[in-house]
């Protein structure tokens, strides 16, 4: 009888080891990181991902473990992923900047119109769901105002409600637009990080083609086209070439 109890306990503990709750794994990974066991921490975080869960803090912490292990390209990749879920997060931006200092290639970005920076700042001011709820709030308030207009017999109240409905109604579309734009940004599949130590960019999608330029791990590229295992990539400074898909990973 006693043996049976022990056995059951053992089996149960095995189960709990294998099917650990993601939150528990997250805590476990953090603990390992604090002790400086970066490889263990990485494994824990990767397991959460393999169980199908994700979050901004998870990607951020995973990025940190990669950085501490000297795998700069993967650190950059995970920071970029964290940034999608935590746009404008100060810690993520800081660590991404540090990781980008450690990569070999320095790409000169072409300056862009300041309005785009404003737009990005506006997008990053709140999370997607916050913007969605904001849009919903304006929508609801416009409708409530309309209801009051229909139901109220007081002219003064009806006038006030009309102004309220107008303003709310006008704000629904911008907030919904930002939410949609943010959502589109989060689900972009055309940005990738070079993960191979060295990637030769060809002039055409063919092994025998001449080399256009060389990129090292950690560089962010934009994918503009795909043919089989070849990706047509564009750098921030406008250089274009073909890259073997195995040497990059989509963010």
């Amino acid at each position: 009888m006693r043996i049976l109890v022990v056995l059951t306990a053992l089996v149960l503990s095995c189960f709990s080891l294998y099917a650990q709750a993601p939150d528990q794994l997250f805590l476990q990974g953090n603990e390992a990181y604090q002790k400086g066991l970066y490889a263990e921490a990485r494994e824990a975080f990767e397991r959460i991902l393999s169980q199908g869960y994700e979050s901004g803090p998870l990607y951020y912490n995973l990025g940190n473990t990669y950085y501490k292990s000297g795998l700069i390209a993967l650190a950059v990749l995970n920071y970029e992923r964290a940034l999608r879920l935590l746009p404008g997060d100060d810690d993520v931006l800081h660590n991404l900047a540090i990781a980008n200092l450690a990569i070999t290639d320095k790409i000169e970005t072409t300056p862009r119109l300041f309005l785009w920076d404003y737009w990005d700042a506006l997008k990053d001011a709140m999370s997607t769901s916050a913007y969605t709820w904001l849009a919903y709030g304006f929508f609801a308030s416009a409708l409530i105002c309309a209801c009051v207009i229909l139901l109220s017999s007081s002219f003064a109240i009806r006038k006030l409600m009309f102004v309220g409905a107008l303003i709310s109604g006008l704000l629904v579309l911008p907030s919904l637009g930002i939410a949609l734009a943010r959502n589109a940004d989060q689900h972009r599949t055309d940005l990738a990080i070079i993960t191979a130590d060295i990637a030769t960019i060809k002039n055409s999608p063919d092994d025998g083609s001449s080399d256009a330029f060389v990129l090292h791990a950690g560089v962010k590229v934009q994918i503009t086209d795909r043919i089989n295992q070849w990706l047509k990539v564009r750098l921030a400074d406008g250089k274009v070439g073909w890259l073997n898909a195995s040497s990059a990973e989509v963010i």
């Binding site: 993601p22 939150d23 997250f26 805590l27 953090n30 990181y33 959460i48 991902l49 199908g52 869960y53 994700e54 979050s55 901004g56 803090p57 998870l58 951020y60 912490n61 940190n64 950085y67 501490k68 000297g70 700069i72 810690d91 800081h94 660590n95 900047a97 540090i98 990781a99 200092l101 450690a102 320095k106 999370s127 997607t128 769901s129 969605t132 709820w133 919903y136 929508f139 609801a140 409708l143 409530i144 309309a146 209801c147 009051v148 229909l150 139901l151 939410a179 949609l180 959502n183 989060q186 130590d197 060295i198 030769t200 080399d211 060389v214």
Partner: protein, 606 residues
């Protein structure tokens, strides 16, 4: 018998040993005396019979009156003459006198086996100048006339029309019918536009005989060269000069004494022989050269190999390209090698090996490239190509090696420095580490869940929408209800009545027959409408009596009700008997209707 024979041999041997133990001698010797001012002469000290030890500690006399131009040159000499061994060591100095006069060079001393030996003093006479050059100058025209075509130098080329880079052999041959004791090459030909390679520059000339213009000459090849034109056009090989020392018999002197005392071998005369310049026509290389062509002309083979197929990162591999064959080997340029991009390449180490045997210049030139792979993996060095022009085939030939496979393993881990500052930003952030992980709230969600639309939001979105629809329906219903409401109708009754009377007033002003009828119609209709709305009586049940009853129930004064009855009746009458109607009556009817309605409005309550 035999013993008798042996004795003299032994005696000779003993005697010879005794001879070898001679005392050392030390002598000063001048190579000539007198010496012309500014001329060089040699002062030698000859140490004889010094034995195996030789001399030590040579002390020179005062040579203040001379410039020492060279020396000491030491030479030793050993002779066996009739069994006697004599050895001598000569220390020689080349001197040049500073001034004219008679000078005595004092004794020099040397130590042999601890004993000092001194040379005898010698006297040098320095005279103004010798008469030698003058006499030579006098002789010169005669000599050249005498030698004439008996001595000449010829440059022979194997061809005079070539393609750029093709080999030409030039042979300088000396033809002579005079006795020549020596020669020395003078001015070398200038070979601008050629790369030249000496094939033969013999010290000893083997002579052959050749017949030129019916005269037999002794011919010696004194120089053989290979030339490779490096440019096209007409190129010139300028003359080659040889200074020959010729023995001439002076024929003009008829003095028998003179002839007697002269050198029986004749007089030595310096004579410069020159070859004729040669023009070489050089064609440019034909067009259509391959990309890898870099001026190689001839016939070559190429090998390219690496010293090891597997290496580690940051460990150098040597790629050796060797080109061998005949042609302008020395002019070969390093073929371009295409390395995978992450290799570092250094300038090649070039070595060549040229063979001059035979007619053609052949040899090999090797280029050793040191390449350093920086990243691990399997890499391929593209085939090395090398092109040359084959003058025999009159075409370009391209050689290409097979691609070279390299396996590069990860060498000693070279951890990337975590922060390599670059630019302003880098300096600013230097020594900053990444921020710490986020410990609080994992906020994990299932991957792929949209943060844009949540089910709650969809439900909530329908809530105000439903509310609006409800409000709309409610408001519409309420409006419809209000239209049917009696109270509402009675509130609106006066408005409608006024509107009807205003229409009637317009009709009154027009005062045509048709209008009159319409006027009464309008007044009647307005009155009935007003009473109906005000009192809440449906049109079907409306009559004068009903209206009066309802009004009196609402405490309207009796006279006003009478007035209303009269007005309504007169209107009915006027409608059906229009003839009796007049403008004044119409005006009265209008005024009455107005007054009645106003009074009713004022008196009745609700």
């Amino acid at each position: 018998m035999r013993r008798i024979f042996l004795f003299p041999v032994a005696a000779i041997l003993i005697f010879s040993f005794r001879l070898s133990a001679q005392d050392p001698t030390f002598q000063a010797v001048l190579d000539r005396n007198p010496v012309g001012q500014g001329e060089q002469f040699t002062l030698s000290f000859v140490l004889g019979n010094a034995g195996m030890g030789g001399g030590r500690n040579l002390q020179l006399p005062d040579l203040g009156k001379f410039h020492i131009m060279g020396g000491p040159n030491q030479s030793s000499n050993m002779q066996f003459i009739n069994g006697a061994v004599s050895s001598s060591i000569t220390y020689s100095y080349i001197l040049q006198p500073k001034e004219i006069g008679k000078f005595t060079i004092g004794p020099a001393s040397i130590e042999v086996n601890g004993t000092a030996y001194k040379s005898q003093p010698v006297t040098v006479e320095v005279v103004k100048s010798t008469s030698k050059p003058q006499s030579r100058g006098n002789d010169q025209p005669d000599i050249s006339a005498e030698i004439g075509d008996n001595l000449f130098l010829r440059a022979v080329v194997d061809r005079s029309h070539v393609t750029q880079g093709e080999q030409i052999n030039v042979v300088f041959k000396l033809y002579t019918r005079v006795s020549m004791s020596n020669y020395s090459p003078g001015k070398n030909p200038t070979l601008s536009g050629f790369w030249s390679e000496e094939i033969e520059n013999p010290k000893n000339i083997s002579l052959t005989t050749e017949t030129v213009n019916g005269k037999q000459y002794r011919v010696g090849v004194i120089r053989r060269m290979a030339l490779f034109p490096t440019q096209s056009g007409t190129l010139e090989i300028s003359p080659f000069e040889v200074d020959a020392v010729v023995q001439v018999q002076s024929r003009r002197s008829r003095d028998p004494f003179d002839a007697f005392f002269r050198d029986p071998f004749g007089q030595s005369v310096n004579y410069a022989v020159k070859s004729d310049p040669i023009r070489i026509k050089t064609d440019p290389l034909p067009p259509g050269a391959p990309a890898s062509f870099r001026g190689a002309v001839g016939r070559f083979t190429m090998t390219a190999r690496v010293d090891k197929q597997t290496t580690k990162t940051n460990e150098p591999v040597s790629l050796k390209v060797t080109i061998a064959g005949t042609g302008n080997v020395k002019l070969l340029e390093s073929p371009a090698i295409e390395l995978p991009t992450d290799f570092e390449q250094y300038t090649p180490k070039v070595s060549d090996n040229i063979s001059r045997t035979g007619d053609r210049i052949s040899g090999s030139k090797s280029f050793e490239y040191l390449v350093i792979p920086r990243y691990p993996g399997k890499k391929t060095i593209k085939p090395v190509t090398f092109s040359f022009y084959d003058p025999g085939k009159r075409s370009y030939v391209t050689l290409s090696s097979s691609p070279i496979e390299l396996t590069i393993e990860q060498g000693a881990a070279q951890l990337p420095s975590l922060i390599s500052g670059g630019g302003k930003e880098g300096v600013q952030l230097l020594n900053q580490d990444i921020r710490f992980i986020k410990l609080t709230e994992s906020s994990l969600v299932q991957k792929g869940r949209s943060s844009l639309i949540s089910p709650l939001l969809v439900v909530l979105a329908f809530l105000p929408l439903g509310g609006l629809v409800g409000a709309f329906v409610y408001a519409k219903q309420k409006k419809a209800d209000r239209l049917d409401d009696i109270g509402f109708r009675s509130r609106r009754a006066i408005k409608i009545a006024r509107k009807g009377l205003r229409t009637a007033e317009d009709l009154l002003k027009k005062s045509s027959n048709d209008q009159k009828l319409a006027f009464y119609d309008e007044v009647t209709r307005s009155m009935w409408k007003y009473l109906g709305d005000r009192l809440g009586i449906p049109p079907a049940e409306m009559s004068i009596d009903r209206a009066i009853t309802a009004l009196s129930a609402r405490s309207a004064p009796q006279d006003l009700l009478e007035k209303l009855r009269t007005l309504l009746e007169s209107c009915e009458m006027a409608r059906f008997a229009p003839s009796s109607t007049e403008s004044i009556a119409m005006q009265k009817t209008y005024d009455d209707a107005k007054r009645v309605i106003m009074n009713l409005e004022r008196t009745i309550k609700a």
